[in-house]
């Protein structure tokens, strides 16, 4: 049996990754709280962030399935970014 403990759902502290952008979970980006003094960011438990990210991947999968039978790929690595910097469903939940 799992017991929900709110304290365990506190997100990790943010780390800056770009001008005006912070990251708490890998490849989940947020506006730098310093830029949210007029409209402060709401507190979100970790599970809610993961729920939103999972729903996002579900939506993209649904879009592909809705419009065509098969999604073809170029099969090439990114020529602008290293592979480890690319967003992916697995890394978003790490």
């Amino acid at each position: 049996m799992s017991i929900f403990r709110l304290g365990e759902q506190a997100p990790p502290p943010p780390r800056p990754i770009a001008d005006g952008v912070v990251e708490r979970f890998e490849h989940v980006y947020e506006v730098d709280p310093e830029r949210m003094r007029v409209f402060p960011q709401q507190d979100m438990p970790a599970w809610d962030t993961h729920r939103i990210v999972d729903a996002r991947w579900d939506h993209l999968d649904w879009m592909h399935d809705h419009f065509a039978d098969e999604i073809l790929s170029a099969g090439l690595e990114s020529e602008t970014m290293p592979a480890e910097a690319m967003p992916s469903e697995e890394r978003a939940n790490e």
């Binding site: 952008v21 790929s73 992916s88």
Partner: protein, 504 residues
């Protein structure tokens, strides 16, 4: 000439509407029903919200009911405004003079799926996503794919002459409607198509009235049934995004891709440096991209796998032939699948001091030729920058240019500059400033031989007053048509400067 200029809806009119519909629940004079049918998603003069409310909303189920409602409005000179999903970006469904709002959402049936002659006949209240879910078992598809795909309705797409993200491959709304049933402003019910046949794509009989009743912004009638094109469900989809270090190289590559002759191209999109700067703030795909990425070109293909697979190889060659760098499969596929996000994402922008605040998204659109895109881009951004610096409630979210010709994507583009507006700060001064900004942007489009709107409609202040200028000598013909079909100016009055038809 007597024309409807201000609403005259009273209890007697409401009683007549109830008698027509025979159902009190489908006649809605209450405040909440009217408030919910006032605005559209575009930034709005929210401080004057009440001025745009209808006096009563009705929910008809049949063309006969629509006809009787319109006859009543015409007899009493009451404005009547058709509304489908209410997702338009230029106030086409916003009542400017109160009156009766005809909400077609209950007319959402699929009347016939004809797999032999490849048509589907529907009511105007059906949504494309839901329609395609019903069509999927038959391996056919209705390929009208606006950014509002999950929430807009067929009737609104016809009324506004909608533009599709897959239009290069399959055509836009005006290409996909085979025929339709329309209630005229005087209440008559007519069938319009190419000639007289309900399922014919081409005829040489009389005039082609179908195009007249597509894209009139609810000013010439109300569509009550539509027979639509069915295309084979796509076996394959392919999307590729290419990054560039300068706009002009990306512009050249866009042209090369569109001239490739590949029939499976659904669209080619050119994003500029301002759009990239906007995406770098919040979009997980673009935040980590290196600083040298200043422009992006995106391509999407649909069709049979036997066609898409070899075409994709050529796209990869053309996209990288002039210095373009492929951004990778994940971002290409994911960003293309995110093309409807504009209607699902809570929006925020930046004040000049960098603080994030909630903003609404205004897309100022135009139809422009390929050759003028770089010059228009510079002038549009300069205009918006002046307003940002002076008023502090606007934010430049960048531009994109999207191939616009149905089946011939090489010559002209839907061009949009996206502007964030802090609506909570809206007042008369700010609204007037915004209208002035819009007008300046539209005037640039005319200067370069373009049209002030490609798909949103010239129904807002800032655009509407330029319609006669853009139409030139043909404006007289437009006014005569409007006056002939709507002698009392009851059908969505106040839009597109059409009141001029009644001032002589």
């Amino acid at each position: 000439m007597s024309v409807a200029l201000k609403s005259a809806v009273d209890d007697g009119v409401v009683d007549e509407l109830r008698a027509i519909l025979g159902d009190d629940d489908r006649v809605l004079p209450g405040v909440s029903a009217r408030v919910n049918r006032t605005r559209v998603p575009a930034p709005f003069p929210v401080h004057r919200w009440a001025e745009f409310m209808p006096d009563v909303a009705v929910l008809p189920r049949t063309a006969q009911e629509v006809s009787e409602v319109v006859k009543l409005a015409n007899r009493l000179r009451i404005p009547v405004v058709p509304r489908a999903g209410g997702t338009g970006l230029a106030d086409g469904a916003v009542p400017l003079r109160g009156g009766i709002l005809v909400d077609v959402k209950l007319m959402n049936q699929i009347h016939e799926i004809d797999l032999e002659d490849r048509t589907v006949t529907v009511g105007p209240g059906i949504n494309m996503l839901k329609l395609n879910e019903a069509l999927r078992p038959h391996r056919v598809f209705y390929p009208d794919c606006p950014a509002s795909y999950p929430c807009s309705l067929v009737g609104g797409r016809i009324g506004t002459g909608g533009w599709s993200l897959l239009g290069g491959r399959y055509g836009h709304t005006r290409d996909l409607v085979v025929s339709m049933e329309v209630v005229l402003p005087t209440g008559e019910i007519i069938e319009v198509g190419d000639g007289g046949g309900r399922k014919l794509r081409h005829s040489s009989t009389a005039f082609n009235l179908k195009q007249l009743f597509t894209g009139h912004q609810g000013t010439l009638g109300i569509c009550t049934e539509a027979t639509l094109e069915l295309v084979p469900r796509a076996e394959a989809e392919f999307a590729a995004f290419f990054a560039f270090d300068d706009y002009l190289t990306a512009h050249r590559t866009t042209g090369a891709l569109t001239r490739s002759g590949l029939a499976t191209i659904a669209g080619v999109v050119l994003f500029d440096e301002y759009k990239l700067a906007y995406l770098r703030r919040d979009d997980e795909a673009w935040i980590p991209q290196p600083e040298w990425v200043k422009a992006v070109v995106a391509v999407a293909l649909y069709g049979a796998k036997a066609e898409v697979e070899p075409a994709a190889k050529l796209i990869m060659e053309l996209g990288r032939a002039d210095g373009g760098k492929y951004v990778g499969d994940e971002i290409s596929q994911g960003d293309w699948a995110a093309r409807h996000d504009r209607y699902a994402t809570p929006l925020h922008g930046r004040r000049p001091d960098g603080q994030a605040v909630p903003m609404s998204w205004h897309c100022e659109d135009a139809a422009l030729n390929y050759s003028v895109l770089p010059r228009v881009r510079e002038e549009w951004h300069a205009i918006v920058q002046r307003y940002i610096e002076r008023y502090g409630i606007f934010d430049d979210w960048g531009m994109f240019c999207y191939t616009s010709g149905a089946h011939k994507p090489w010559g002209d583009y839907l061009v949009e500059i996206d502007v964030g507006i802090w609506e909570q700060k809206m007042n008369d001064e700010h609204w007037a400033a915004w209208v002035s900004c819009k007008r300046e942007i539209a005037e640039v489009s005319l200067k370069y031989g373009g049209s002030i709107t490609c798909c949103h409609g010239a129904t807002r202040e800032g655009d509407a007053e330029l319609v006669p200028t853009e139409m030139g000598a043909s404006w007289e013909v437009v006014k005569r048509i409007k006056r002939a079909l709507d002698p009392n100016n009851v059908m969505n009055p106040g839009k597109q400067s059409l009141d001029e038809a009644y001032s002589e």
